[in-house]
């Protein structure tokens, strides 16, 4: 189980959990899984089954592709402000 899955599935579970102030244990109880399994999924060390992936997405009230993706997710800062952290603002931003 230390090996990473051959095809990593990226996910936003840690971010979504933090936004809602949920511990791994609380999420695990809601999904009827072990709390360590939440950690394994968050770290990309275990790919959940389709059943579990849909259950996670349903729990957060999001479409499954908002929670899981075969490609790395764009950081929230980039998505919200259109730039990476540390990148200077454009000169005309306040115009």
């Amino acid at each position: 189980m230390t090996r990473r899955p051959a095809t990593p599935i990226h996910n936003r579970i840690a971010v979504l959990r933090a936004e809602r102030g949920l511990s791994r244990q609380e999420l695990a109880e809601a999904l009827d899984i072990n709390y360590q399994t939440v950690g394994y999924i968050e770290r990309g060390e275990y790919n959940p089954s389709l059943d579990l992936a849909f259950a996670v997405a349903a729990f957060f009230g999001l479409p499954i592709d908002a929670v899981f993706s075969p490609e790395p997710f764009e950081p929230m800062s980039v998505r919200l402000y259109g730039r990476s952290a540390g990148e200077p603002e454009e000169s005309g931003a306040h115009a």
């Binding site: 189980m1 230390t2 511990s23 791994r24 244990q25 695990a28 009827d32 899984i33 072990n34 709390y35 360590q36 399994t37 950690g39 394994y40 770290r43 275990y46 959940p48 089954s49 059943d51 579990l52």
Partner: protein, 170 residues
């Protein structure tokens, strides 16, 4: 001095290095008792009274190891356990598959050893009641614990930020 209850409660949090050491001690304890008896007591190199405390210590490795491994795994290696989630069930199935491979390898190694002994000494290997008894005892000790031992060997350590969460059993 921690109580037995405290020690038993701490077992599910054992680090992988400790678990692997326990698996090794469990695995070598009883076989070393048999090998030592056959190689030093039977030929008369060591008296039985000298060998007894050593054998007791070696047997204790196996007994303590078996108890500690069961204490760590807590039913997660049982085939009938319905309280495992999909990742735990997958890990358990891998532990059973590896256990099967280990048993096959051990049986094959024993058969090869018997053939080598027979061909090198030219003597027939007699399957006495004693040998059957030792083999049955070995099987009775190790076959039930094997999946739990393999699981304890395989499982990675829980990351530090998860260590304060509850133990592995739900």
């Amino acid at each position: 001095m921690p109580s037995v209850r405290t020690l038993y409660r701490s077992l599910p949090h054992m680090q992988r290095r400790t678990r692997r050491l326990l698996v090794l001690l469990t695995a070598i304890g009883y076989p070393l008792v048999l090998v030592g008896y056959a190689t030093v007591v039977v030929p008369g190199r060591v008296t039985l009274s000298t060998w007894a405390p050593i054998a007791t210590l070696l047997m204790a490795f196996t007994i303590v190891g078996v108890i500690a491994l069961y204490g760590y795994v807590r039913g997660r290696a049982d085939l009938g356990s319905g309280r495992l989630d999909e990742r735990q069930a997958q890990l358990r199935d891998r532990a059973w598959a590896r256990s099967y491979a280990i048993v096959v390898l051990v049986i094959a190694a024993v058969l090869v050893a018997v053939m080598v002994i027979r061909s090198s000494s030219g003597q027939d290997v007699v399957l006495s009641g004693d040998i059957i008894g030792y083999a049955a005892t070995t099987a009775a000790i190790y076959l039930p614990i094997l999946p739990a031992a393999v699981l304890a060997w395989m499982e990675p350590d829980v990351p530090v930020d998860e260590a304060d969460e509850p133990s592995g059993d739900r």
